[in-house]
């Protein structure tokens, strides 16, 4: 019985590791996004790690995605995304949203 339980537990852990959400990274440096386009898979939950290398705080904002998060200076924050339909979803660094460098797109395919 014990062995059966541990097998069940192990397979559960294995399944959850395999199902772990994929993570993508977006960097902010000198108030500019790199990369400007992040490709993510459709119909799945993913995590977007936004790394702010500037000393000043930044705010990741996307009206199409309904996301808004402050990323303090010299730190990183995870933003949960999806499941999404294929398409292009714009985002900005709200504090510098008029600079082209502070605008980017999540491409879902």
């Amino acid at each position: 019985m014990k062995r059966l339980l541990s097998v069940a537990l192990l397979s559960f852990v294995a399944a959850s590791v395999m199902a772990a959400t994929e993570e993508f990274t977006l960097t902010i440096q000198n108030h500019a996004f790199a990369p400007k386009e992040v490709k993510i898979p459709a119909g799945k939950k993913v995590k977007l790690l936004v790394v702010n290398k500037d000393a000043t705080p930044a705010e990741f904002e996307s009206k199409p995605l309904g996301r808004e998060k402050v990323i303090p200076g010299k730190s990183a924050a995870t933003i949960n995304l999806g499941p999404l339909k294929p398409g292009r979803y714009a985002f900005v660094e709200e504090y510098h949203e008029n600079d082209a460098a502070a605008q980017g797109t999540i491409v879902v395919e």
Partner: protein, 276 residues
């Protein structure tokens, strides 16, 4: 300077709309002005505190501290607005109409004043903390100096306050007969719109499913970044690309508060009838 003015305008506009609607809805409550000013000051103090501890807040609850904090602030505000609309609106109406029975007015006014204070403080806290962080970034960044930042920020704040003031002045022109019904509806929509924001934060924290995101897309028709879109967002919670869960929260809170208001109004009527 223009960037500073624009951002501060947008953030202060939402708080300013909430404050004007609250100011109108609590017309006739004695010394409510003093409580609103205290609310603004407490909110500003809170915003500065939140901004300075944003790093700590962000790291709480394994990275979803910010979302939980925002959802908490908004939930509290929804609760206060519901309380105001369901329990207080009846008395507010009576107080404004009669302005008599001073003792009762004071005891009920005290509770209503704490609602005013909290709603105003929470609105300023929420919109203010992002603004403080933004201005801090601008002022310390090399591209713009402290002076242009302050000038821009102040002009944005003045513009935001002006729109709120115009809304308030407009509301006051409504005849008293309809006045409290209209402010009641505005407060109701404000609460529903905040509830939809609660849902948005909980989806972002991955605590709730989105139930379809976006549920619809009217951004081509009325962009949320346009002037009308921004105003409608602040007033009734317009969202060009909402998640299904946001709509669910919106409708549930709207129906719940409206039923509460209806129930209290009915009870008030039957109470009066049985006394006759």
């Amino acid at each position: 300077m223009f960037a500073a003015a624009l951002i501060v305008f947008r953030e202060s506009l939402e708080a300013s709309l909430i404050i004007s609607i609250m100011a109108a809805a609590t017309r006739g409550i004695p010394s409510r002005g003093r409580w609103m000013v205290s609310g603004v000051l407490a909110g500003l103090l809170g915003a500065a505190l939140v901004a300075s501890s944003m790093e700590g807040i962000s790291m709480l609850a394994s990275g979803i501290g910010q979302e939980l904090f925002n959802a908490g602030v908004l939930t509290l505000a929804v609760g206060m607005l519901a309380w105001h609309n369901i329990w207080m609106s009846v008395h507010g109406r009576e107080m404004a109409a009669q302005a008599q029975n001073a003792a009762r007015a004071i005891s009920e006014g005290t509770r209503e004043r704490s609602v005013i204070f909290l709603v105003v403080a929470l609105a300023v806290l929420r919109e203010g903390s992002e603004t403080v962080l933004f201005l801090y970034g601008l002022a310390t960044g090399s591209e713009e100096g402290l002076r242009t930042t302050i000038t821009g920020g102040l002009s944005g704040l003045a513009a935001g306050a002006l729109v709120g003031g115009l809304l308030y002045a407009g509301l006051l022109r409504i005849p008293l007969r309809w006045f409290f019904s209209i402010t009641g509806i505005l407060v109701l929509l404000l609460a529903a719109s905040m509830a939809s924001q609660v849902a948005r934060n909980l989806i972002q924290a991955d605590l709730l499913p989105s139930l379809g995101a976006p549920l619809w897309d009217t951004s081509a028709l009325l962009s949320q970044s346009s002037a009308a879109g921004t105003l409608l967002h602040g007033l009734i919670g317009y969202d060009a690309q909402p998640a299904g869960m946001q709509l669910l929260f919106y409708v549930v809170v709207l129906v719940a508060i409206a039923s509460g208001m209806f129930w209290v109004a009915q009870r008030g009527q039957s109470g009066r009838l049985s006394k006759q």
